[in-house]
């Protein structure tokens, strides 16, 4: 649980970052206008977005770590419990190959059962879900930062590529429908001799 003071500190640093990047931008905008078409100018304008993302990512990183710690705790607890069961069942590690194989079998069966029980449990599923969610949140921050950098370099970013993929998908569907309509039956595409697909 995040305390009020942690929140205030994060908000303060976010404000501080935005304030100075904005102010520096305002103070320096006129002389730098000469380089307004270059990537560095573009990047400077977007730098505050990167600062903001990094500060927000920090919050998510804390939550990610909490879930990760819980994840490893669940694994460690299960391991310890399974080992206790093995020790109870076979107090001493046998000293001949045949009995050692039997010991190994017991060890594997108990560990597999206990870990499967863990992986099948609600507490594991819920924490795993949170862990993945927080990892995705961090990925989103990373994507946003990359978007700013790509935009600065006048390259298509993820959002723009997604729009393109969506448009291509929609076009594929429209073409398939037109082909099917023109044939009066569901579309098929046969390979031609030169390997092109029609």
């Amino acid at each position: 649980m995040k305390t009020e003071s942690t929140k205030d500190t994060a908000e303060y640093y976010k404000h501080l970052s935005v304030f100075w990047t904005d102010l520096i931008h305002l103070m320096s905008s006129k002389p730098q206008a000469l380089s307004s078409v270059g990537p560095m100018r573009n990047f400077a304008e977007n730098a505050k977005k990167i600062s903001k993302e990094l500060i927000d990512a920090n919050d998510d990183l804390v939550e990610f770590n909490n879930s990760l710690v819980e994840y490893y705790k669940q694994l460690t607890d299960t391991w310890n419990e399974a080992q206790k069961k093995v020790n109870f069942k076979v107090p001493e590690i046998p000293n001949d190959p045949e009995q050692f194989d039997a010991y190994k079998r017991v060890w594997i069966d108990i560990f597999d059962n206990d870990f499967t029980e863990l992986f099948d449990s609600k507490k594991f599923g819920e924490n795993y879900g949170k862990l993945v969610t927080k990892e995705l949140d961090l990925t989103k921050h990373w994507n946003n930062i990359m978007n700013v950098m790509l935009h600065s370099a006048n390259l298509p970013n993820k959002k723009e590529m997604d729009e393109l993929y969506k448009e291509i998908h929609s076009l594929r569907k429209r073409i398939a429908k037109l082909e099917a309509d023109s044939r009066g039956k569901p579309k098929t595409k046969k390979e031609t001799d030169d390997g092109n697909v029609w």
Binding site: P97, I108, S121, Y165, T188
Partner: protein, 356 residues
Amino acid sequence: MATFGETKIDPKILEEIIKFSKNVTAAPKLVAAPDEIKLETTPYDVVYKEDKVRLLHYKPMTEKQLQTPLIIAYAIINRYHILDIHPKKSWVKNLLEQGLDVYMIDWGTPSNIDKYLDFDDYVNGYLNNCVEFVKDETNVDKVSLQGYCTGGTLSAVYSALHPENIKNFVATAPVIDGWRDTTVVSNLARHIDVDRMVETIGNMPPEFMYYCFSILKPFEQGVEKYVNFFKNIDNESFVDNFMRVEKWLSDTPPIPGELFRQWIKDIYQDNLLVQNKMYVGGKHISLKNIKMPLFTQVAIGDHLVSPECSMPLHYSVASEDKTLKIYPTGHVGMIASSLSQKKVLPELGQWLKEHS
């Protein structure tokens, strides 16, 4: 008896350890690297292509074939190679030898551009186009359709939407009832925020599936299996089979984001398919529309798709002619093992012959 401080160790154990170490050292000389192994064993022609999907037509092995061709819709996880992984364990080869005309759908490797492909594209697009192609090519009105694992789900949806095209439906370990699934995979699927996943990363990365595989019997599969591999390094047949299956396991393509989203939500989280509440491409899916003969195969030891998840198909369809077969094996054992060659496939072949 060798002694280490207070501990006495049986010389036989030392001998085992030394032998094991020698086997580990000798392994690279005796075993081909995964990249050097070719998984496909039965010859085929690529007869149809659409985007990244290919339809393979296997060369016949008998003078005459059954009149109704069989299309196999493989799963969207891993690749179709498991159905033809070794001449002695090939699902495809066995069916060809029984006189079937076999086609296989290879879904290909989706990339970012395919992230918007959804259930509708797979069922009413690719699968339907493959069926129409085979109907044209073989001059039949209906085909037999077999779906394996997640391919079984796609095939069930297809059979419900296009029953006029399907003469016989074979469902092999199909994913049908997500709420009844007792596997750890379904537990994870129920707890992930799939919307956030698809919006953030697009296609489901293969690594996510590898994680799911790694928590299935982690000690048997992650430790014991490899110990056995090194112990049996001199056994050519064992090693060959091991490496083929390992190569297959480590080669799963990404799943298109939108398809994955609907899959997780409609099958595992909301369980819409078996409740006849699912929609694909705006069309309502009712399993009651499946009235053609149905042959369902489940494995009692299946840790990927539990029998409780697959069997509801048998009870949800309207088919009068339906058979449910339960085999004492696992998810892969049902399709690529000596049991599948001796029992599973002869029973399937016989059923298809009777229904062709």
